[in-house]
Symmetry: C2
């Protein structure tokens, strides 16, 4: 089963306590697509500028990602510059240049409209809703958002949430959206807004899955060094939905395994800047760490 | 197998966003002893004032806790007053009266010296070391500490750590003691200080167990309401060591199950002020939530 992702492709300039990387590949859809590509074919819808280099396009294509929906517009690709604190849960945006992304209005190519699994990465919820209108037979629609839209486009976001099956956010966003500090109460309120399933990402503390009748909690893989946390959440979502597409099964048991696979991929991504670690990562590496995850958590 | 605990018995006055409780039973040794008593016989060494009421003594005795080592000194029992913030991971100490606890120098009654399992709750590390000198054949010595001693009595604490098997602290204390922000690196440094096994408590995010050759991570039981977090860490330690005493086995597999039992007991304790929830809690309640823990975490 293939997966459609709609979101951003960007160049990031990142400072962490461990170092600095300039103009490296980033963006929610890029992280998601490469992570998901380990498990299933991916169709990418995003926009880049005419400065987007051939070697990055070739990298994405080498991961069996269908780039028919990657529009090249006249101008520069989206740029983000950020700096992480010593506590890498905190970061400052130093510079943001939307460039060609400011006019992004996703149009699905014909062969993309019948995608069964869809991930709406973090963009304007109005645009996310516009994607839904173009789908002919989705089986599972998952979406992400950010504090920016919770604060600035709540009505659009709430309208969208009535139409999605699965919502994937972090704990801060869950608190902001629900007005509840307690994560269980926050989850209940958000589930009442529409989605059947809610995933709450808690960074180094792991992930919580709230389904109608159960809760699943999994810790994060404990890493001795987090080199660059950028893209961890989108890579998690990519591994998660990639695995679901691969097994073609949306049972609770598969959702749980998928969360572990998503956590494994995210744990690799943060080991280096940008998507560098995924340029050499193999499916065997993923299986090895999955087994380590089992022994990390079994009792 | 019985457990010896040395620590404090106190009266707490607690304000949380949910309410207030005045002069309720507390103290590290009280929480630990009652929690452990669900699994194994407990011997308590602590000091109270002559104001300590008969009904609290009767409550402790009703839990099969041997009170031979509970000294009654002329004067008032230790008092602590604290206020929790909206974010209950943060609290302020509003008042602290050591009272009879200021002269506490634990002396083990004869029948206590051959205790196989020992928990040194959070007191001055010099006093903790003094307890070790009185033991005749300990099989497992576990200890706790606090930021207060890490900052104010580091040499004494480091000397103690060379003599204990197991160290049970929270993540903030681990960072402070090791000077490392990353929890895995912090754990490695602390294990080099002496203990064979390290448990790091992460509050609502669960517990990490570092053994010589493995890491175990377990999330906390997700509660819709944390009423009063006081004593959660000591109750966790009580359930944990209580289970180990009960099964009389210190294998990795038993340590892991023990951590889940400790987490279960702690999850009940925080449902009400002070030790109130444990006045009615049954062993069946514990087993029921243990099974819920299995379904919370299995994949």
């Amino acid at each position: 089963m293939s997966i459609l992702v709609v979101g951003s492709v960007a160049f990031d300039t990142i400072e962490t306590p461990n170092g600095r990387a300039d103009e490296v590949l980033g963006g929610s859809a890029a992280y998601f697509a490469v992570a998901a590509s380990y498990f299933a074919p991916v169709k990418l819808v995003a926009v880049v500028g005419d400065d987007f280099p051939a070697h990055e396009r070739a990298f994405l294509a080498s991961r069996d990602i269908d780039l028919t929906g990657l529009t090249v517009s006249k101008g520069r690709t989206f740029r983000w510059t950020g700096r992480y604190h010593e506590d890498m849960n905190v970061r400052d945006t130093l510079d943001l240049q939307l460039n060609v992304f400011s006019d992004f209005s996703p149009v699905l190519p014909d062969g993309f409209r019948d995608a069964p699994l869809v991930f709406l990465a973090n963009i304007n919820p109005g645009l996310q809703a516009g994607v839904l209108d173009q789908l002919t037979r989705p089986q599972l629609i998952a979406c992400d958002t950010s504090s920016h839209w919770i604060e600035g486009a709540r009505p659009e976001l709430e309208a969208l949430l009535k139409k999605v099956d699965m919502f994937v956010i972090n704990d801060e966003e869950a608190r902001l959206l629900s007005g509840e500090r307690n994560v269980v109460r926050a989850a209940r309120k958000i589930l009442e807004m529409g989605p059947r399933t809610l995933l709450i990402k808690r960074g180094e503390y792991g992930v919580l899955l709230f389904s109608p009748n159960s809760v699943f909690a999994v810790p994060a893989y404990p890493l001795e060094e987090v080199f660059d946390p950028t893209g961890a959440g989108d890579s998690f979502a990519g591994g998660f939905l990639g695995y679901l597409a691969h097994v073609n099964d949306l049972s609770e048991a598969s959702l749980r395994k998928a969360i572990v696979y998503g956590s494994v991929v995210a744990s690799y991504v943060v080991e280096d800047f940008s998507l560098r670690r995924l340029r050499t990562l193999t499916r065997d590496d993923i299986e090895r760490r999955y087994r380590q995850f089992v022994s990390l958590t079994e009792f």
